[in-house]
């Protein structure tokens, strides 16, 4: 058999899950969709002593859309969130990014919260959570819950702030304010692969349609999603007269990507600038266009 042996637990409710996790100690892993974990097990790159399968914990299979944003439970699959019209209305960025996550068949099993906890800096959803300044809710047996902001949640490559015994029960993606727009752009060698580079962008305009705030979270540009505030470079100009070349240059200056067999560090830096500019331009257009922002009250 390909995966190494482990003790298997299949709790059926949240309380039981937390209890099992508390008892299993530091070498336990949570199994949700398994689309990242099982490859690691099959290649024996990971060998947890306990596997806690949360696929029977129905209360974690939730997508709650409120005025403030979208809260996604630990068992909500990528495909379910992608198909949720309410979530897409409240937060178009979420669907745009989800469509870039692997392939449809992987998205049938993979979970949004699982992608976040996996904390791969090349993945789409950590960048989305980062640019929206969302958070992940962690729970532990007898210890209540803590809500960890994205800026503190992603600690390093494949490393999150999750502590042994904790379960990421949900993630919160805040909706955009009025007159805001968002976009996600990435380049991958093959569609569905991890991105060589990418950017999730949010632009907010002021009452006079000038750029009040411009932020991007860059994919594959560092050990964690790299959040850049480019509001100053945009200098409160309307999108049409913003100095986009300066924006791209500022992005290139502020990221420090690594080279690998897919792309050199220089190419990745260049690409990050191009994609950040592209995403920001689209986000600015969306912010200026009709219909955006209203969903924040939905």
């Amino acid at each position: 058999m390909k995966p190494p042996p482990f003790d298997y637990h299949a709790p059926t409710d949240l309380g039981e899950t937390l209890e099992v996790l508390a008892g299993a100690g530091a070498h336990a892993k949570v199994l949700a969709g398994g689309q990242s974990l099982i490859p690691l097990l099959n290649m024996r790159l990971a060998s947890p002593s306990h596997l806690v399968d949360i696929n029977r914990v129905a209360e974690l299979d939730t997508i709650v859309v409120r005025g403030g944003g979208v809260r996604v439970g630990a068992l909500a699959r990528h495909a379910a969130v992608e198909r949720s019209e309410a979530a897409a209305r409240a937060l178009p960025l979420l669907r745009a990014a989800l469509r870039q996550v692997a392939h449809p068949v992987i998205r049938n099993r993979g979970t949004v919260v699982g992608s976040l906890v996996h904390a791969d800096p090349s993945a789409e959803l950590p960048a989305v959570l980062t640019v929206l300044e969302g958070s992940v809710r962690l729970a532990r047996h007898g210890g209540g819950e803590r809500e960890v902001p994205a800026s503190e949640f992603f600690v390093g490559p494949l490393e999150s702030a999750l502590r042994p015994g904790e379960l990421a029960v949900s993630a919160f993606f805040p909706a955009l304010p009025p007159r805001a727009g968002s976009a996600f752009c990435e380049v991958a060698r093959r569609h569905g692969d991890y991105a060589v580079a990418g950017a999730a962008a949010v632009v907010v305009l002021d009452d006079d349609q000038r750029i009040a705030s411009a932020r991007v979270a860059c994919v594959s540009a560092g050990p964690v999603p790299v959040l850049l505030d480019l509001s100053e470079v945009c200098a409160r100009r309307p999108a049409a007269s913003a100095d986009w070349a300066a924006v791209a240059a500022a992005v290139r200056d502020r990221v420090d990507p690594e080279g690998d067999i897919h792309a050199t560090a220089d190419y990745r830096r260049h690409l990050t600038g191009v994609l950040a500019e592209r995403a920001l331009r689209v986000a600015a257009q969306e912010a200026a266009g009709e219909g955006t922002g209203e969903s924040a009250d939905g």
């Binding site: 099982i38 099959n42 692997a102």
Partner: protein, 172 residues
């Protein structure tokens, strides 16, 4: 080695099948070794090639990225379950045969399961939807062109069978 065994029951192609498996048994291995259903092929065993795709409660899933114990109580359809009870090929299988959408056939079970589900959800897909739909399945022989044709052909066959007009979105 004293590894714990788990009693599981899967409904495979409409029949309840029981097995005693270690927790680390992949669904792909359970189907092939424990249940003797070798139609599900195993290629890369880490989710890249799509050969092992089966339908889990109707939705395509990688059986090499699913543990058999997780599938306990669920409904699985493998390539063996696509044909009718009399052995008549399903529209998707017929279309693959008609359009020469396979050569060595190793990847075919995964494609057939993926396309069966794709056409249930999108009965008249555009070229773009077909390509996106099968993007997670690799074929090293055909160059994909005939597979794309077969998907459109299968859509026509299904529409004919259902008596609904084939509002073909793509130009096959």
């Amino acid at each position: 080695m004293g590894e714990a065994l788990h009693e599981i029951a899967l409904t495979v192609n409409g029949v309840v099948r029981r097995a005693r498996v270690p927790a680390r048994r992949l669904l792909s291995d359970c189907l092939r070794h424990d249940l003797g259903l070798t139609g599900t092929h195993v290629g890369c065993e880490h989710g890249v090639c799509g050969c092992c795709t089966v339908l889990m409660d109707g939705a395509p899933a990688r059986s090499c990225l699913t543990f058999a114990v997780t599938a306990d109580g669920h409904e699985i359809t493998t390539v063996e379950g696509l044909a009718g009870p009399d052995g008549a090929l399903s529209p998707v299988q017929r279309a693959f045969s008609e359009c020469h959408a396979l050569q060595c056939g190793f990847c075919t079970p995964g494609f057939l399961c993926t396309v069966t589900a794709l056409l249930r959800e999108t009965p008249a897909p555009t070229d773009e939807q077909v390509v996106e739909g099968i993007s997670g399945n690799l074929c090293r022989c055909t160059g994909y062109q005939n597979i794309v044709k077969a998907v459109h052909r299968a859509a026509e066959l299904i529409a004919d069978e259902d008596g609904t007009p084939a509002a073909a979105g793509g130009e096959a």
